[in-house]
Point group: C2
Chain length 372, copies 2
């Protein structure tokens, strides 16, 4: 079994962009990378073969959802999440912290953990750092996330400070709760809201505990993009170069490019999948809404510059027809294209970093959008 | 271009079961065959590649739906239905007759045709034999169905008689309206309700006009299975052996086996696709409802005797989880399995007929269901 490790392969000469490689027992992950979200043990609308076709190297699954249904014990008894969902490449599981706050009801936070009611059946559960870690281990995750409190935005400084300190104590308990020797990684999550000094303090607390990788949580929660970038810039320099950095729940293609140029290695977001189901498609020249009447007789592919299965085989007119007709294939094809777009963008970014041309790549990225 | 033709390859020695081959300009169709239903220019949940993987040789599309949305002219302008939906094998289009009666509102039947209101937007349309034929030609169908009146069951004999006569006059108009020389086929539709003599009369009327194939319409409309089989037995002997026979809208696996043993070559039905979306799966030992709690921890495939992609890669527990979670892949995987089941059943039937062992095949088919 290959234990988790990270190689920083190349540092761009003119930006903070990094080209790296994560090793896991289930294969390599070339960074920067975007991780498609498979909330309920499925990336909505994409078969594992399609995920591989579009180049997915790692996907994300959701502790909160799988804990409630079908239950981590059931998944473990059935051979683990990889076998359950027929996906043999790496899986990162979030800790459930975000969903407890966004979906759970009547939540009550204590030092011990979070008491919440299931959004499915109202049943009450106490999620603790130890349980969140155990659930992720039972699922068989390759990358386990520490359990943290997701802070609402905006929140008063004193609340953010107390919450960030609590999350640091929880992070320590996650590390202490870990089962040894399965080759998986544990990532800590930097909190601190939009306060640079609290972000720095959070980095220091997590570094003292020591993790395999470091995530930035509490972003993409309603703040301006410029605020998000400021937080990245205020935080990333305090994280070690030889560990992967992951910005959670981010974001638009623009957010990803900006994150990469500031030194982020990993991203996840429901944006490409959720937007796909709403008929919003990402292209090299920006987003389009396929439901618009202008596409009713448009025989072009979604993006003439795209080489994905959808763009090779279907017209905008057909995709609009499927969407208007409420057909399952609308979600399937739109999701396929959007995930391909995101992963292809990451592959291009990686090549640009290797060639020390990330500045030009970024300029072209914006130029194509501006001139369309 | 290869014009439409039918070869009767082998006649079973102990039943009426037939092994045949249809030639079209888009490839061969080995009969007996089941045609998956692709109502709105998509077999719900299955990509064309998946349809090919499960062995689909021909699919059905729906004139009524495509006439209303996106419009046959739009489809034609975009290169025809095959290109529109990325399917290069044969397509049979129904005439719209059935949907006008089951979905259209305020329908008014006259000698000229049927005046109806769209179920989508209430707009009024007059569908005539000439228009129904023209729409199917514009779509680029390989097999075109004559426009007929679908008779409610039960209906009084005098209504059935008048309606069947009207459908015969419409069938003649369809044939006269046909564009020549595109290599497609036109099938007539035998009506006559559940009255053997009216079925026979309908056969005679259609034979006088002359069609490339003959369908039995007005079945699977609420009658007992034994009544359906009686109608098949009363009708099929009056149809020519050297043309394909197609029973429309039928049916269960049992209906197909019984139809084949009486000399039917072609079937279509929404049953495998619609049931799949409702979590009902077909197996060699009968139907199962995947939503049942008994499958929550069941690591077996849907059907241990099945070799399809779904049964090779996923457990009943995972399929139940997807269904319970309302996931898109529930419909995708369930549909894949069900269509594979239907098409594999047809492939086995064809082999049995070739080996003169259809009687044994049919006995085993029922035996597996009875002893489970």
């Amino acid at each position: 079994m290959i234990p988790f490790s990270f190689d920083l392969l190349h540092q761009d000469t003119r930006t903070q962009a990094r080209r790296g490689r994560i090793h896991t027992s289930r294969g390599k992950i070339e960074t920067p990378i975007f991780m498609p979200v498979g909330t309920q043990a499925t990336v909505k609308g994409l078969l594992p073969e399609a995920l591989k076709e579009v180049g997915a190297q790692i996907i994300l699954a959701n502790t909160y959802h799988l804990f409630l249904r079908p239950g981590h014990q059931t998944v473990q008894d059935l051979g683990g999440l990889h076998r359950f969902m027929n996906w043999d490449r790496p899986i990162l599981t979030d800790s459930g912290g975000f969903q407890v706050f966004s979906l759970g009801q009547l939540r009550k936070i204590s030092e011990e953990g979070v008491l919440f009611q299931s959004h499915l059946d109202g049943s009450t559960h106490l999620l603790t750092p130890e349980l969140a870690t155990g659930v992720q281990e039972a699922l068989g995750a390759d990358i386990i996330m520490a359990f943290d409190e997701c802070i609402a935005y905006p929140s008063p400084r004193d609340y953010v400070q107390r919450s960030t300190d609590l999350s640091a104590r929880w992070a320590r308990r996650c590390k202490e709760a870990r089962r040894e020797g399965d080759g998986s990684a544990l990532f800590g999550i930097v909190q601190g809201g939009m306060f640079p000094d609290l972000r720095r303090k959070s980095c220091e607390d997590l570094l003292e505990i020591g993790f395999d990788g470091y995530a930035l949580g509490g972003l993409s929660v309603g703040e301006e993009a410029s605020v998000m970038y400021d937080v990245m810039e205020a935080t990333l320099p305090h994280l070690p170069h030889d560990h992967p950095r992951y910005v959670m729940g981010v974001g638009t293609p623009e957010n990803l490019i900006e994150g990469i140029s500031r030194g982020v290695d990993m991203f996840d977001c429901v944006m490409p999948t959720r937007n796909a189901r709403n008929g919003v498609l990402f292209t090299s020249f920006g987003r389009i809404s396929i439901k618009q009447a202008r596409y009713a007789r448009d025989e072009q592919p979604v993006d003439p510059a795209c080489g994905c299965y959808v763009c090779r085989n279907y017209s905008r007119a057909y995709l609009r027809h499927l969407y208007q007709s409420g057909e399952i294939l609308a979600s399937v094809l739109n999701t396929h294209h959007n995930i391909h777009y995101y992963l292809d963008l990451m592959a291009s970014a990686r090549s640009a970093i290797e060639a020390n041309s990330f500045v030009e790549f970024k300029r072209d990225f914006y130029h194509q959008r501006a001139t369309h």
